[in-house]
Symmetry: D3
Subunit: 339 residues, 6 copies
């Protein structure tokens, strides 16, 4: 009778250049560990859910440090496989105002996660007592093996009646801009999904859905309804982001289509401290609302406020708890000091 | 014929999480020493006044470091008592945009300041050659002994014709939300005060004054006039703060009621670097104007600009001098580089 | 059939002045969380044992950060109680050469751990499936309640046949130099103990055992044999430390008395990086050997090498694994780079 | 047939107080090396031009560090003379919001650059194979010898048909407010210049040109046209900066007068990370456009965007490349993450 | 008539955990760029030689930062090829006393250097005007392509009469302990070499030379004489290192066999700040002496002192100049402050 | 009846490269303020003496920061003159093992202290109520004006019966190796001195005293007795330092000649954290003993232990108190942790 929520995904080391410098200006880097699965589960753990990460980490002191970080977040590590040698690394130069942020990857292909074979994971044991499982478009893209593991896990989960969540996270570079290949696998995943996170751009550019709507909002609603209908996906959600001409000032609004109904959150003006991971905070907020059967209006407000707080929080991984999120929703413009 | 300005108040260690991180994300803390009395006197010392802090510090290397800091600010330490073991500590997680700042206290009850008995202080020697003495609602709240010392010092100062300044600084948590108890002691202190810093909220919520005014400004003026009349307080001042929906962007305006006249400063838009201590900078600016008999319009402008600069200055303690403040008042929108 | 090893002890925040500065020279502190129980269990967890910490942490962001740290070490947190407000803090000025290290405590009395009542802990649940439980002289000293909880837990553990480990850790300051009071409780604890960590000084000065032996080694052996006999303690161990006139250069040797046999480890010359926590590393090494029924010669070598490595490791908490320890034992003077 | 671009100018050490603190609050300074010539050439080097700095550095480890920094930027160092003892130093307290930045110089007069005699530089060798040479009003102001070297180099360059670029950079303090003296030398330099960077204020206050225009834009255009005509300068450019009442929020627009035509760039709102060096980035952008015969509209857009990016980049020295600049020009308000 | 000294080798990013922590204890890493070729050439550049590095760097901001670092050292970059995506990374946990240092590699196989084909390098252009070229056993081991490039460059250099230097740098892990394979290629390289850096262990374990000598010194001399004779190598040098049971305290002595004569340097006791790169400093010292035809006694003293100073210098790369080295040789035990 | 101890001396900014790096490796410097006078008085203040510094500081934010630091040390600032523009700066690369420390000065000649005229100081007011005044060979060397101020102050002090202390601190570089000039002024100062700090090298090399003694100790005693006799100096003291072939490991022993009697302290082996300022700590220890009429054996032990502790303390300025010094003297090889 467990309600464990699990996620399959890569853990990477983030090496950030401090103080908004460029990497050529520094001899010091800020290190942390992150990944879509980690971010998603960390937030849900903070909201009181029981979670576990499905991944593979190298058997080195680097892998040990990553494992220690996941444990510290309270995420279950019983599904973490240890083996092989490397952890994926990415470098982050944080942008400022008119200068964009820049992410540079080291080679992910040779990481333990990407080199793992399907036999490394004990699929039946993993899915036992699992209520929900989260996948991400990145694992679908990374390599042939991560793609097969993703699809196998999702199919078996579907068979077992486990709720399948899919976050599109479409990265053209990882597919080497091969839209046809990507579409084939996104199509498979969406047929297996109960809840999806994706935007109207994913629907039109990647999946090739068409619309006659002319407003931005009209296009969004029409396209995602068609996706929902075609793939029998009960819930689709995404954020709408408007930039005030600068990296660090953007507005954020949440969108949720659930059982055919559409709701929007209020629009938050935002000064962004850390750009990465807000989408994962939004996704985990939606899941929190759906799991607890909150009204969909509350669900989208909760998720959006969680995303906004993640932008105000250092690092990829959301760290707020439920009280923090509700406080933002109810504060009504008087944010100051909590003593 | 000294014009020494003194303040009675606790010195605390502030431990700030750097880089807008949460405490669970760091292994490094920024340390400084501060307190309402320290902040208030530091600013006045920078403006050329002769000052002295009345407090008790522990006889440890921590107390020594605090003493060294107070000396560095140029504040007189002849009234500092050394003894007992602990210094109060507070942790600060600085907020960012939509995430509020968070202050967490260690136990203040057992600090040297809070454990001090009235016999630790040589009241007659302290009040000799003193022109003005500053108290704060925090010492009134902390413990039975600090409350008695506050009242004794204030009564004796009143007797000796020393100007008594009282900064309301009402913190419900320190009174465990016991408004009735708080009101009893605020009532006593206000009867002893010549100058007070307090807001309309203090007047209505804490002191239970009533008004029929309906605008925010009307309520402010009516309530504080009533307070002034009831307690025979010659000057009452406060700041008005409006948040642009975010922790770090607020406007600031000063208010001063003096001999029945009311003046407001201009309104400063502000991007806040350090939220704590701006009220103390405002208070010391008002006192600077009153001591030098500046026109009340200049006094409120000086105080507000000082508060605005304190928001732009790292740490609780104001560090600008008179020239910095007048420059801001006169600069008229062209702030750039001083070479 | 569990072999869980548990420890009852306080978690404290360590605030270290960096770069061998004094606290009056810095505005930055290094923060970590530690404690005898944490240190002891962290090492055993690294050696592959299943562990759990019995403690109480405050329900603040500070308590949350401490909990996160314990989780990161892989120590079970199912016996951690959350409640009350404060965490004990200590400041560390690390010594250098001829300058000793200096530890300054904030008030521990008001910490959640010291304020906890016996009802906060579910003793029967805690002791279920427990193989061994570790206590420390600090909890015996801190307050009347921690003393009662220590004794109650130890008595009930004894009844249930759980191995009771007691680390003397005698701190005269915590007992306010009241040897008589201390002796009374040490006497009780030793009667309940199966394994003890204590030195000949504890035996003579604290417990008042006498010896006619004249050499240092003779006194050590005679006194601890008498303690072992008197209290029916199967194993007693300690380290012998010789300082080369400076804080940072000392030799270390281990001693173990087990079933009447006495063994010594080889003597390690050492350049100390971090003085605190080496005793806990030694204790956990002894326990590791005893639990696995290693020969006592290997046990004392393992424990001593673990203590030496802890001196070469930053922080209170031992972080090496079994392989690191055996490598040091077998390396025979060729320590260089592991690639 | 080389197209080397050279600049004559001082290299200074910049010592910046970190974290927006005042110098009295820190015990740590950020160090870098910069100067108008370095900044100007670094940007041009990034855009693919072949460059060389003409300067004198001390023969100490400080001079060595400065030389190493210039080399790292890819600027040619064959014209750098090594000798004498000191390097000029300036301290920077970065302003925040309503608090202005503050620059404090150490003594520049005794630096190697300012003590250099004209014989230290091999003028004929320096000017051989040089296409363009850049001077700055600071070297004209610093001392009698730097003034003579500036004029000698410029005259000889003029004779050899090398394009002479002059950046006004008028600093009243360096001339001790002696406008008459300054005017005499500016007049000489402008007669030798082909391209100049200067504002309408320089034209009116320093050079004493008059205008009847009443709008700000009218005055700018009329005055600089008169300067261009009087001194036969083909291109004059400058930036227009409007402050939104705060140090860190300003708009930036570029202006270019070339062969009698006037163009303006679009206006960029900007949140400033580092105030110093944006003028040099603008100047090098103009030169890049002129050297490559870009249309003047593109030239002014390129230069202004380069200036805007320099404001978003840590340090005095521009570090973006051509692609970064064109991306900003074409991005149209969607700056986010580059992966 | 150039005397350029070149080296073929990989540039890596070194990420060091600061303050002797383990990587699981930090969220901050110190970054620098290094490699045998960089280290070797940097020292020779400091001694006044004209140098150039032959390598391939990725066309990313990481590659740009590496290039900038090499330029800063004064090493020529005309033979650096830019292309592909990744730079090799290694993590360093610096050991302390009884705890060894630990190096962990990210995947080097996919780095630009290791992915480079022989066609990326213009061998004839590279070898033109080259006096001496340095190779290292690491490039021989890394991959089939780096092995072929190494051998091709060495053969063509031999043909052109360029002095070939080979530093054995044997790393069993890179050869996956396949001694037979390694021996085959070491044999080829040694036949092409004029100067070699290798130890008696390389001669016996790797090359399978035999000796009947029984003392350590006898074995060293006999084995390396046989190597010299067999491969017609004029000069062979190495260091002898004795550890005082700890990572950070070792003695260092140099050995040089030249034209059949053998010399030893004096023995330096050493407290090591940075273990990595001292071998490269020794090798460049030997080359400096040989190129300048210093007496072999002076050559070995110079090289050994350079190695000792490299141990006292932060980072892999030697940074001392000739004067520093001679000062150490002549100082005779009075090292203090240079003012 | 005051017993104020004063010192005339320059305050400088020390900029230290952190982590034993060279300045070319860092972009961060540690800043502090120091000087012989500051160091000497800081120690005496810690021992309970009433002190005041006679100096001139610039009227900039740099001068303000220096003043703040002096105040923090508890040194009186009533004799500090504020004016002019610059503060002397020195850079420190801390040596390690076989690499010496390196000090590089910025130009001191133009500092406020060196530009001060004798009229800046109110000599009569300064010397009123002064018990003892300290001078240093550095002020004698720096410039003609500091030399005249030194001599004038010393002559007037001698007239008034104030004890004159002179610390030789002979720096050949500051005298441009002109021994004849230096000897002339040292001769004048020594005739005015009651207590001197100088070595046998100063006596022989600078003052040209001769001796026939052949042992090191014999030479020391004979030469300083002759100095004492010739100049009628009651007390002469110095330290004897022996280096164990490395920068950071030296032994220290104190020497005191007083009223014709000679005493030596015990010899301390030392691992040096900060080389600069130990001489000032020794000097202030001797003065402390002489002022309190301690036996000369205790005086020399106290002074030497204070010097040893200063070597173990970060920064130029001694920070220990009397208890720390006595603890070191009495500890007898058991330095560990003070709790």
């Amino acid at each position: 009778m467990s309600h464990k929520i699990k996620a399959f995904g890569e853990v990477m080391m983030r090496l950030e250049v401090p103080d908004y410098k460029k990497i050529e200006q520094t001899n010091e880097l800020q290190m942390m560990f992150a990944g879509t699965g980690v971010n998603f589960l960390a937030a849900l753990t903070n909201y009181g859910h029981d979670t576990s990460l499905i991944t593979k980490l190298p058997q080195t002191n680097i892998g040990q440090a990553a494992l220690k970080h996941i444990r510290s977040l309270g995420i279950g590590t019983e599904d973490v496989v240890i083996g092989d040698q490397y952890l994926g690394i990415y470098f982050l130069e944080s942008g400022f105002a008119n200068r964009p942020s820049k992410v540079t990857y080291s080679d992910r292909q040779t990481s333990s996660f990407n080199q793992a074979s399907i036999d490394d994971y004990h699929i039946e044991a993993i899915l036992e007592n699992t209520h929900m499982i989260h996948f991400c478009g990145i694992a679908l893209a990374l390599s042939e093996t991560t793609r097969q593991i993703t699809l196998n896990l999702a199919e078996r989960a579907k068979d077992l009646g486990i709720t399948v969540v899919f976050d599109s996270n479409y990265r053209p570079g990882l597919w080497k801009d091969d839209y046809v290949l990507a579409r084939k696998y996104y199509d498979k995943m969406l047929h297996l999904s109960d809840i999806a996170f994706m935007s109207d751009k994913d629907a039109s550019l990647l999946l090739q859905f068409k619309t006659n709507e002319e407003t931005e909002q009209g296009r969004l609603e029409d396209l995602l309804k068609k996706v929902s209908h075609q793939y029998k996906i009960r819930s689709i959600a995404c954020t709408r982001r408007k930039s005030a001409n600068q990296t660090t000032h953007q507005t954020l609004q949440g969108f949720l289509l659930h059982d055919g109904d559409i709701v929007y959150s209020k629009i938050y003006p935002n000064h962004i401290l850390d750009r990465i991971g807000a989408g994962d905070a939004f996704a985990s907020g939606i899941i929190h609302g759906l799991v607890h059967n909150l009204p969909i209006e509350e669900t989208v407000e909760f998720a959006t406020a969680a995303g906004v707080l993640a932008h105000s929080t250092y690092g990829d991984t959301p760290l707020c708890n439920q009280e923090d999120v509700w406080n933002l929703i109810h504060q009504d413009g008087h944010i100051d000091i909590e003593r």
